[in-house]
């Protein structure tokens, strides 16, 4: 990508950065457990974590804050991983789940799913979102394919078509919501990008996906490095380019789909985290990916914690805060690449 392999990005540096980020994430997680609309003294929070404390603190910390912290961390990490994988495969700095049809497809599918089957068991939603994520991305893939040539996927066209398809799918979702019976609109508030109301149930819904997909994305780092060298060189190195791309994209899409069901469309996390990671540790995926995950988790957790504590008892959606940070950076990227 734009940041070259350079001697200043060493493994030692990557380890150091990852260590610092992991420590920061841990500290912020503990802090997030202690902060909220209701003041809880640190000693009480500590006691609650070890099974003691009074029942109110236990309820606040274990039932309300802990699931929120967990969902924030997992969804942030998944969005970041999804963005890192997609930017690696598409070789486009602007690629991220919210920009290439994946997020919009998942959102639309979740809407239609809830509309068609209001009494569906909670475990069904991620599958619907995943199908939608694939549907949205498949549409982008289909439309951006160069039917004449043997090239497969031209990166620039993929990103452009992705933006157009996202807009179209978003419009269809709005149309469905306008035509939907009253009440579905509010049932989908979480799709706008917020960790509000996340409970243990939602955490358990997201956790299995994260446990499979996050390690899978890390295993892909070598493949992504090779793909990053460009089609000809990758083929020359003995990689079957199209299957490798499809596999990587499959993981990326699934990550985004699962993350959407946990916290909705958290704007720009999938764009911002991999970029910051490359600035910190360079473009080698074995280093970028873990650092991206940590950055994504940290970003969303910070946004949600801030959202909970900014104007209590009012809740500011985390997606709003990540978009506030992400949108200017996106504009900067656009200006730079123009």
């Amino acid at each position: 990508m734009t940041v070259p392999f350079s001697p200043r990005f060493t493994s030692a540096r990557a380890l150091l950065v990852a260590g610092i980020l992991a420590t920061l994430t841990m500290l912020l997680s503990v802090l997030a457990l202690g902060l909220g609309a209701v003041a809880t003294p640190a000693a009480q929070v500590w006691a609650a974590l070890w099974g003691g404390g009074d029942s109110l603190t236990r309820q606040l910390v274990l039932e309300l804050r802990l699931p929120r912290v967990g969902v924030s961390l997992l969804c942030g990490a998944m969005f970041a991983a999804s963005g890192a994988v997609m930017q690696g495969v598409i070789r486009n700095p602007l690629a991220s789940p919210d920009l290439i049809g994946v997020g919009a497809g998942a959102g639309l599918a979740a809407t239609v799913f809830l509309l068609a089957w209001p009494a569906a068991p909670p475990g069904g939603l991620p599958w619907a979102a995943l199908a939608g994520a694939w549907g949205g991305f498949g549409l982008v893939l289909l439309l951006s394919r160069d039917w004449g040539g043997a090239d497969g996927l031209p990166p620039v066209r993929l990103a452009l078509v992705g933006v157009a398809v996202s807009a179209a799918l978003g419009a269809v979702q709005h149309l469905v919501l306008v035509r939907a019976p009253d009440g579905l609109g509010s049932a989908l508030t979480f799709l706008t990008g917020t960790v509000y109301g996340a409970d243990a149930e939602r955490l358990w819904r997201v956790l299995p996906w994260a446990l499979v997909l996050l390690p899978a994305s890390l295993l892909l780092s070598r493949t992504l490095d090779v793909l990053n060298l460009g089609e000809d060189l990758a083929t020359g190195l003995g990689t079957r380019v199209n299957p490798a791309r499809l596999l990587s994209l499959g993981v990326g899409v699934a990550l985004a789909g699962a993350a959407v069901t946990g916290a909705g469309l958290l704007g720009f996390v999938g764009l911002l985290a991999p970029h910051l990671a490359r600035l910190l540790v360079g473009a080698k995926h074995a280093r970028t990916l873990p650092v991206s995950l940590l950055l994504g988790a940290l970003l969303v957790l910070a946004a949600d914690t801030l959202g909970r504590t900014l104007l209590p008892p009012l809740e500011v959606p985390a997606g709003l805060l990540t978009t506030l940070v992400g949108a200017p950076y996106f504009l900067y990227l656009l200006r730079r690449s123009a």
Partner: protein
């Protein structure tokens, strides 16, 4: 008969037990199932203004309520403000702060089945929660809720009394209503939209209860829906009832500049009535109702006569 037969004794015991349990356990049906309480409760958190109005009418002050004034909420309606100043706010109605609610240690949460439908499971984990159709409910629905809430807080007799008084008031007002007056269109006008309230909405069914006819019935299952100026012209009501807020410039102010608006029968006949939307469409409880009956009479809406300046749209 010297001794009772064993069967008879068992039956007696059973029926006595049944009586006892029905006196002890409180069961109330609501939008998400049946709520069972062992005994009436006193610590209540309400998440919609109609519940606040109802509780206050029954002599119960909630321990917390969705009384925030940020994020699209406008706080308690003006007629309740003096009585709610000391009630802790639990954030917005759409996303109430679960932490704040938990810290208030409520024994009962009153939620809207529509607005808080999605977070019902989370609320139910904090305290027994009843979800009623308040925002989308009709006058009959809201009255049934008054009775149900009365039972939950151990004020059933008071609730019955409140409803009886209200019924008497409405019947009395009804005798004033002009017979065969043309049907009305009632709508909330905000700066951005006009939303009509059909005969199944609270305010729409209330005015029907006063003996006037609502021109609109629900569209599908929507008891309230948006209408454009053209849509309003197509209906061409002879009587138009608008609900606006004094601190907002309603969309109808823009529409007034259009010749289409001037052609509306209600405008030409001078039968456009304006009421405070916070008091009329947000309170939706027994206290709001008293105020609404008085204003329906005072505004001369009931007799379909030209409104006095206080209720006219010509300011």
């Amino acid at each position: 008969m010297k001794s009772r037969s064993p069967l008879k004794t068992t039956l007696l015991t059973l029926s006595a037990l049944a009586l006892l349990s029905s006196a002890l356990a409180l069961t109330v049906k609501h939008g998400r199932g049946t709520l069972e309480l062992a005994a009436p409760v006193k610590r209540v958190v309400e998440l919609e203004y109609s519940f606040l109005d109802t509780l206050l009418a029954l002599g119960i002050t909630p321990v917390g309520g969705a009384l925030g004034t940020q994020g699209g909420d406008r706080g308690a309606p003006p007629y309740l403000r003096a009585r709610t100043a000391n009630i802790p706010a639990t954030g917005s109605r759409a996303q109430p702060s679960l932490e704040t609610i938990a810290a208030l240690r409520p024994q009962l949460i009153l939620a809207d089945a529509f607005v808080q439908g999605e977070i019902y499971p989370q609320l139910a984990k904090l305290a027994p929660t009843a979800a009623f159709q308040s925002r989308r409910g009709s006058l009959d629905d809201l009255n049934a809720q008054t009775l149900a809430i009365g039972r939950l807080v151990g004020r059933e007799a008071a609730a019955k009394q409140v409803l009886a008084d209200q019924q008497g008031l409405i019947l009395k007002a009804r005798t004033l209503a002009k017979k065969n007056a043309p049907p009305f269109v009632a709508a909330v006008a905000t700066p951005l939209s006009l939303t009509v309230h059909t005969d199944q909405s609270f305010v729409g069914s209330f005015l029907e209860g006063l003996g006037r006819r609502n021109a609109l019935s629900p569209k599908g299952d929507q008891t309230q829906y948006e209408l454009s100026l053209e849509g309003l012209v197509a209906l061409n009501p002879q009587i138009l009832v608008l609900f606006t807020a004094p601190d907002e410039t309603p969309i109808t102010e823009q529409w007034k500049e259009s010749p289409l608006w001037q052609k509306l029968s209600a405008v030409q006949l001078g039968r456009v009535y304006v009421f405070d939307r916070d008091n009329w469409t947000r309170g939706r409880g027994p206290l709001a109702l008293k105020l609404m009956v008085a204003q329906a009479i005072e505004s001369r809406l009931l007799v379909a006569a030209a409104p006095p300046a206080a209720y006219s749209d010509k300011k």
